[in-house]
């Protein structure tokens, strides 16, 4: 093997941080995000699953069950890495839920609810849905929208199907109401049928009002949670809703939420083909949210990204980390959640690997997505080793090695031929763009149910002209220029200077004629903007330049200047890898 190839391979892979522009160490204090700790905490849960622990809430006559203990371990671990108690609670609850733990069990006592179990384990305070934020989709709203609308409705009209002033003395809270036809067949379902749609409408309108595409999944969850704050949250209901003992008010709320939001009745788990009853998922997760404490925006981002194991993902508003775009790395948690789902539902290691590999097929940049998962799995191993990250590394390491060696070999040959650094960087970025273009046409055709014949992203560079700052003229992320052309259902759309000119023009003018073109290309532009998440291409160019004799600092600086978009923000990792390349080359000389 040529020593340049060996040196560059070693330098780029010696640390997972060398393959990304992101500051992964900064993730570990809980400031801004905490997904690395979640990947590691997933190992803790997986170990318990594989030990044969009882992954169910039940009515055991014990003070604490296996789930309590696992929740305490997971939340305690997360908090060691700066995670707020409520955030540790909401994420642990979501991970345990997808591992197969039920959302609630029993009647007092014990009456166990997964959200409450995790909140108590985390030492988090209780809170109300009115103070729960949604995840951040640039802007964000809160459950206050649903709660306010519900209480306004309660103020204006009597929603109960009977006049409660007629109730005999002493009946409040009694089973004569709560465990009888009056409560179970009439009161609880009637209130659910009336309150959930009010909450849904309020959430959707609030989303729209602040410029967020209304998120049906989150609107449904918050409406269910807000309703369950009022309605008996685990009351039995009439058997027209489902079998007795197994069907409770959250299931009714979930069913009503599906109808109110127009969500599909069946969702699926990525890579597995498993079906999910949407109403059940909404009821369960809504119940969890009600009890889980006071998570912050970041906690809710992570919560929703755990839920992104749902294949329909962005189309219904469930996270974005499951694809098709390569998000910034600090968003990714769907992958460990998927492995926990697999292990919790009886998949073997090889079956889990296949599921993960199948799920990566849904990204525009499959190789980069594979590398991204590999980066995070390796990095999480520094915090806590375990079955989840072992499986994720097994699933992604071979393809990562293949992708990197191919790129390194290509770079080596170009340098050996004597090509100029500028030409090499340019051709590498063009090749990367071509992969995104093909991926966008293929995947968005299915997502939008249209025939997207091609997508072309050209003239990609920093400095669209909107900002005057030198930083904005140097790095693509701050004021990126890109021209776009696409052919959708036979019609050609051309958008020059897309981000600074056409995108805002179409949205501000409500230009429905150009909307199909915009919808087809937008996610691809996002993918370009996020390219630094997996910066392998530019790191390899830099390191190979060093291997061929360039000074590391000069190489990092030069490639940073030459890169039109893949190094979209300043990154220390590029110089670090370059420096190591020089040291290795010295040893190999």
């Amino acid at each position: 093997m040529e020593k340049e190839v060996a040196a560059v391979f070693a330098a780029t892979t010696m640390s997972p941080d060398h393959l990304t522009t992101e500051k992964l160490e900064g993730n570990l204090g809980g400031f801004g995000s905490f997904n690395l700790a979640i990947w590691a905490a997933s190992n803790i849960i997986a170990k318990e699953i594989l030990r044969g622990r009882q992954m169910k809430l039940d009515v055991a006559n014990e003070a604490y069950t296996d789930v309590d203990e696992i929740a305490r371990k997971a939340t305690g671990f997360l908090q060691q890495y700066g995670v707020d108690p409520s955030n540790s609670s909401v994420v642990t609850a979501a991970l345990l839920y997808w591992s197969g733990v039920n959302a609630s069990a029993g009647i007092p006592s014990p009456n166990r609810k997964l959200g409450g179990v995790c909140r108590i384990a985390a030492g988090a305070p209780g809170a109300r849905v009115s103070s729960l934020p949604t995840e951040k989709l640039n802007n964000k709203i809160s459950g206050f929208a649903a709660v306010q609308a519900i209480y306004e409705t309660l103020r204006k009209e009597r929603l109960a199907p009977f006049d409660s002033t007629l109730l005999p003395v002493g009946l409040a809270g009694s089973p004569v109401l709560g465990h009888s036809a009056l409560g179970e067949d009439h009161l609880f379902p009637e209130l659910a049928k009336k309150l959930v749609p009010v909450g849904v409408e309020a959430m959707l309108k609030s989303y729209q009002s602040v410029g967020i595409k209304p998120c049906r999944f989150m609107a449904a969850l918050f409406a269910v949670a807000a309703t369950l704050e009022i309605v008996h949250p685990d009351g039995y209901v009439g058997e027209e809703w489902g079998p007795f003992l197994r069907t409770r008010t959250p299931d009714v709320c979930g069913q009503v939420a599906v109808e109110a939001t127009g969500l599909p009745e069946v969702l699926h788990v990525r890579g597995s083909g498993d079906e999910l009853k949407t109403a059940k998922v909404l009821g369960d997760l809504g119940l969890i949210l009600k009890d889980v404490g006071a998570p912050t925006v970041v906690g809710m981002i992570m919560f929703n990204e755990v839920n992104a194991i749902i294949e329909e993902g962005p189309a219904v508003g469930v996270g974005r980390g499951g694809g098709p775009i390569v998000l910034p790395l600090h968003h990714w948690v769907a992958q460990p959640a998927l492995i926990l789902y697999a292990l919790g539902h009886g998949a073997t290691e090889e079956e889990s690997i296949e599921m993960l590999q199948k799920s990566i097929g849904g990204y525009f940049q499959e190789d980069d997505a594979n590398i991204a998962v590999n980066i995070l799995a390796h990095r999480a191993q520094y915090l806590q080793r375990g079955p989840v990250t072992d499986i994720l590394i097994k699933a992604t390491e071979p393809k990562k090695v293949n992708a990197l060696t191919t790129r390194i070999q290509n770079a080596y040959e170009k340098f050996k031929e004597g090509q100029a650094l500028a030409d090499i960087v340019s051709s590498v970025e063009d090749a990367h763009t071509a992969v995104t273009e093909k991926g966008v046409a293929r995947i968005m055709s299915k997502v939008l149910d249209k025939d997207i014949e091609y997508v072309k992203y050209t003239n990609i560079r920093p400095g669209a002209g909107r900002r005057k700052s030198p930083m904005a003229k140097k790095f693509f992320a701050f004021d990126g220029h890109v021209d776009v052309e696409t052919k959708v259902d036979g019609k050609i759309y051309k958008f020059d200077n897309f981000l600074a000119k056409w995108m805002p023009k179409i949205m501000m003018e409500g230009d429905k004629e150009n909307l199909p073109g915009l919808s087809a290309v937008c996610l691809g532009v996002t993918d370009l903007l996020n390219s630094g998440a997996c910066a392998a291409d530019m790191v390899i160019c830099t390191c190979m330049a060093v291997a061929f004799g360039m000074d590391p600092k000069e190489a990092a600086q030069k490639v940073g200047e030459l890169s039109q978009y893949q190094l979209s923000i300043p990154a220390d990792a590029v110089f670090d890898a370059a420096d190591h390349t020089a040291r290795i080359m010295k040893e190999l000389a």
Binding site: G242, P243, L245, S272, G273, T348
Partner: protein, 140 residues
């Protein structure tokens, strides 16, 4: 509730099968795996025990004789149904059997148990204890 609808509801809950297509595939896979292990006479016996509304699915999913391909029951269901992991196939076998048990009286349950080959009988006896009515006590 109408027994056919009850069966479908139980299957949905126990098998994590909210779609009618998913439930149909589950029944088809289990029936095909079972039928492949039975002689013509044994198949007729099982058909006679099944509820009337399940018989057409049974006959529809009876492959030519002796086509187990050497696979175990769960692996065969996994292969026939295209399930991506063994746990999903196990869940399906359990759900179909538990729902079927609920649809049969005690006598028919025992008759069916006797008619099944041993590999299936073990699964059948286990699934009978997992039916919705049998497991109600876990909620109290």
């Amino acid at each position: 509730m109408d027994p056919k609808r009850q069966f479908s509801q139980n299957l949905e809950l126990l098998g994590q099968l909210p779609s009618s297509g998913g439930r149909e595939k589950a029944v088809a896979s289990v029936f095909a795996a079972l039928a492949s292990r039975l002689s013509g006479e044994q198949r007729a016996l099982v058909e006679a025990i099944l509820p009337e509304w399940l018989r057409s699915q049974w006959t529809r999913n009876s492959p030519p004789l002796e086509q187990t391909n050497g696979l175990g029951v769960v692996e065969q269901v996994k292969s026939i149904g295209g399930y991506s992991y063994r746990g999903a196939a196990e869940r399906v076998v359990n759900a179909v059997f538990a729902s079927l048990a609920e649809a049969l009286d005690d006598t028919a349950q025992q008759e069916l148990g006797r008619a099944l080959p041993e590999e299936f009988r073990i699964l059948w006896e286990g699934a009978r204890t997992c039916s919705l009515s049998e497991t109600a006590s876990q909620y109290l």
